[in-house]
Structures are given as structure tokens and as C-alpha cells.
Amino acid sequence: MHEVFTVVHVRAENYRTKTLILDRSLSAQPGQFVMAWLPGVDEKPLSIAAEAPLALTVVSVGPFSEALHGLGLGASVWVRGPLGHGFTLPDDPLGKRILLVGGGYGVAPLLFLARRARAVGCTVDVCIGARTSADVLLAASFSAVGAMLRITTEDGSAGSQGMVTQAVDEALRAERPYAVYACGPIGMLGAVEHQCKRYGLPHQLSWEAHMRCGMGLCGACEVHGRSAEGWLACHDGPVDRG
């Protein structure tokens, strides 16, 4: 069943992104998701941006996210979850270097992962890709947790001009990470997967899919070409750990 959470704080992240901070915690792993329901509007998957308290970073892309953006303090959000399998940090994390790669609004679950990784002593490199400087998301928050940040924008208005995979190449050449974690558009994930395979690096990629039941039953979120036949984003993912 859904649990009702109350919005206690809203933080604007960029011109089309807000983080809803809710009134209590939800124990979860970075990379897991919830199904967020606004009765009479819709129910959709959202990655977990923070667990204590629960926070959901929402990019305005359609009627549902616009409705979430319209919520004021004290408004209710219905949540079921956490669902799915998230990112796994190295077993013996102290001092290990990991590389996080986020494209567009794919960076939201990576901030949760960066915080968790820093807390257990990982060195965290982050590559963020966006279209323009206005689209860059959560850069200050990554810096605040002590992550080393590389930004690329398609128009060069922030960081270096180009695609995030160029920054990934740079980071991989500078120092070999223990593992790579990525979330973003499918094209970016495919490119990062290719890079990781070329460098022989363990990688965990978070895949987006059209989500319906979120319970591993309806089959709507099947992603082809993953580590297993009939791979379901809600049941086996969203993070494919290979």
C-alpha cells in the first residue's frame, strides 16, 4: 500500500527541477525507486534522492511532474516502496575510488550514492553532462559532499563543451576507478557501458523504463539487452549490476 508523506520543504534545483523534502525517512539503498502517487493525477516511478528524510528530485517533464511541482508545504504525496535493486558499493570501500556518471536528470540518485560512498570512505569522482549550464543539476551538492566534479555541456556554457563520455574518458585516463556507476539517458548508458568494457571496469548502470505495476508482475518495464533474458527494471533493476 501507499504511505502518505507530507512535503515539509521544497528546494529549487534549476529552472525545471525541484526537490521535495518529505516529513520522514524511508530506509532505502541509492538507486532504488518509489512509485509516487497523486490521487486523481497519476502514479510514476521516481528515484530516491535522499532517505533521511525521504527526498524526491522531480524534473518537470509532463502533467504529473508539474503537479508535483505545484505541491506546497504541507501537501501530501503517496509513496509505495522502496522498490527494485539499487547500486552496491565495494565490499571494502575505504579509500576506493569510484566514478559516478550522470546525464541530464539522471544525476538525482547519484547524489544519494555519493553521500553514502563518502560516508564509508570512498573517493568519489563525478561526471555530469547537461545540455546547457541551466540544465546542470546538483553540482553544488556534489561538491559539498567532497566529490571531485567534471561538468560537460553540449553548448559549452558550463564546464567543457561536449558529451559527458569525453569527461569519462578523461577521468578514466587520469586515474583508474574501482567501479563506475551511471544513470542517465539510454544513449549515454550505452556509451558508458562501452567505455567500461573497453577499460575492463566493473560498472553498474541504472536503466529507465515505462513502469506500471512496479512489482515484477506486468512485464511493462522489460529492458532488452541487459545482463539477463527478460530483464525487468522494477524487479531486477533499475540498476543492472552485470
Binding site: 500500500m1 501507499h2 502518505v4 512509485m35 502517487w37 490521487p39 486523481g40 497519476d42 502514479e43 510514476k44 501530501s76 503517496w78 509505495r80 506500471r212 505495476c213 512496479g214 512489482m215 515484477g216 508482475l217 506486468c218 512485464g219 511493462a220 522489460e222 532488452h224 539477463a228 533474458e229 527478460g230 525487468l232 524487479h235
Partner: protein, 310 residues
């Protein structure tokens, strides 16, 4: 004592009696193959109808505490699109020795016949006729399973359209006498009965002041459905002499044994995938084997209908 889980269903040999139920994971060849690789003895595709359907908007399913309620809304690619899926699945299931059951639905008796004919061209091992989906009443009206006469008419239309492929008719639990519906469809030519579909229900969120499902009502499955399924299977087993695919609330090998004892020939498993993951299919088969061994039975047939009425 050694236990042999293999069983026979409508002339087919199943390596075990666990059957992936319709509507769960049956939306692609790769998911059907995955269910088979996870240990199912046979797999059922998601119901397809005459035309492609998107189904209902979210929320479409929720765990309400004692089971799941869903109203996916018969999302499917339409019979034409389904044929390619079924042929692909059949080719990949054959080396595994896992039979394919194709589920169909229609809005009218004629549509059932048309869909059955198209789907039969893919050569599934069994065609399952879903006359009991509880979640599309707004569009399709009362399910055909509610009335023995219309259930029989659908059965006849399908039988006439599919040639030698055996037909199992999937019945609804929410009828005054499921045994009468079962007798009607068997008289009309059904080769087997699948019992049961989900039980219509509603879950309301008091804080929201509205039903959780966008469709308002849905089908109850999972643990809450088991006692209802056991009773229905027992009633059907008493009324007709055809194989029964006993489905409803089976979460464990012990549950599987219970539904066999009620009179099922094989055991449908669906919602257990939510509680235990896709691996539940194979695990339940192993648990059933262990139960039979401990209790001193040699095979699933040994307990079939054990609770039979005098």
C-alpha cells in the same frame, strides 16, 4: 522415497506441475523463456484480444497487505502482433521441454472465435480462454464466465476455430455455482478448466478518499485468494472430469499441494512472483517435491483430489 514431479496435461508432458499463470510476465518471448528457465513446468502468455490495448493508467497494482489487487486492463499487442511473440516463444521453449499456453480474450463471442483462429496459427500447445477478466467491465460488460450459457457459446466458438489444439476455459470465482459453469463449458467442448481468475475487489485509500486503482476495481490475488481458489477447484473437480489448472494464491510448495488435493491436475502460479521473485516458480516446484517426499507420496497425481467429497 523418490518423487517424480513430471505430469501429464492434455497429452503434454510437463517436467513439473507448476504453470506460470496468465497475466504475469507473459508479455514477451524473453519473459516466457525466463519463467521457464526459472523452473516452471509450463508457461502461459498474457491474454491477447482482437486489437492492441494499452490498458489502464496507473496505479494498476498494489499490495494491500493480504494480497495484491490489480487492474492492468488487458494490455496486449492484439492477436496479429501476438502471433509473432508466441511463435518466437514456442521456438525458444521447445528445447527446454516447456509447453506454451496462449491466453485469449474477446469482447463478443465472434471475437473470441476470431482471436482463437489467429492465435492458433502460432501453434501453442494449449489455448486458454479468459472469459473472466474482472477489470474491463466498463468496456466489455459482465464477463462471459458469469453465465453458463454464454460461457458455453464462447467455448464452442473457440473450439470450432482452433482445430486440434486443446482448449482450457478460465473461470471466475464470483459466481453462485462455479460447478454449473464448469459443466456447461465442458459440455460445450472444453478440454480443461483453469480455475480461478482473480476475485473482483476494491481497495480504498482513506487519506486519499478514493480507490487506489485508477480503474477503481480490480482483481484480488495472492494469499487472500487461496481459500477461495481451493473451494472453487474442489467444486469444479466434483462436477467435471477434465484436467484442472488450479490457480489462485499459491505461494509455496505446500500451497501447491493443497490445490492439487482440492482436485487440480497442475498448479498455476502468478502473484508469488511479487512476494518471492521470478525464482518462485522453480522454488515452489522443489518445495512441492520435498513435501511429497516427506509425506510419502510418489508424484503429484497421488494427491490429486485427495479431499474429494464422499
Amino acid at each position: 522415497m523418490g518423487v517424480d514431479l513430471t505430469c501429464e496435461l492434455l497429452g503434454l508432458r510437463l517436467r513439473n506441475p507448476i504453470v506460470l499463470a496468465s497475466g504475469i510476465l507473459g508479455t514477451s518471448a524473453s519473459l516466457l523463456v525466463r519463467a521457464a528457465e526459472s523452473g516452471a513446468g509450463a508457461v502461459t502468455s498474457k491474454s491477447c484480444g482482437p486489437r492492441p490495448r494499452d490498458g489502464h493508467s496507473n496505479p494498476v497494482a498494489v499490495d494491500w497487505g493480504h494480497g495484491v489487487i490489480n487492474a492492468i486492463g488487458l494490455s496486449n499487442p492484439g492477436a496479429g502482433g501476438e502471433v509473432a511473440l508466441l511463435m518466437d516463444a514456442r521456438a525458444r521453449l521447445a528445447p527446454l521441454g516447456v509447453p506454451l499456453i496462449a491466453s485469449i480474450f474477446g469482447g463478443t463471442i465472434a471475437e473470441y472465435g476470431e482471436v482463437a483462429q489467429i492465435v492458433a496459427s502460432a501453434g501453442p500447445d494449449i489455448i486458454e480462454v479468459n472469459i473472466s477478466c474482472p477489470n474491463v467491465a466498463d468496456e466489455f460488460g459482465t464477463p462471459f464466465a458469469a453465465d453458463g450459457r454464454s460461457a458455453a457459446e464462447v467455448t464452442e466458438a473457440v473450439k470450432a476455430a482452433v482445430g486440434p489444439i486443446p482448449v482450457s476455459v478460465k473461470l471466475a470465482p464470483n459466481v453462485p455455482a462455479i460447478s454449473r459453469i464448469a459443466a456447461s463449458v465442458v459440455e460445450a467442448g472444453a478440454d480443461a478448466i483453469t480455475a480461478i481468475n482473480t476475485m473482483p475487489g476494491m481497495v480504498i485509500d482513506a487519506d486519499a478518499g478514493r480507490p487506489v486503482l485508477s480503474n477503481r476495481v480490480g482483481g484480488i490475488s495472492g494469499p487472500a485468494l487461496k481459500p477461495i481458489a481451493l473451494r472453487c477447484v474442489a467444486d469444479v473437480a466434483r462436477a467435471v472430469d477434465v484436467p484442472i489448472i488450479g490457480t489462485g494464491g499459491v505461494m509455496s510448495g505446500r500451497d501447491a499441494a493443497e490445490i492439487l488435493m482440492a482436485g487440480a491436475t497442475v498448479v498455476g502460479v502468478g502473484t508469488a512472483v511479487w512476494y518471492r521473485g521470478v525464482t518462485a516458480l522453480g522454488e515452489i516446484a522443489v518445495e512441492l517435491e520435498q513435501f511429497l517426499g516427506r509425506a510419502g507420496y510418489g508424484d503429484p497425481a497421488a494427491i490429486r483430489g485427495l479431499i474429494a467429497y464422499p
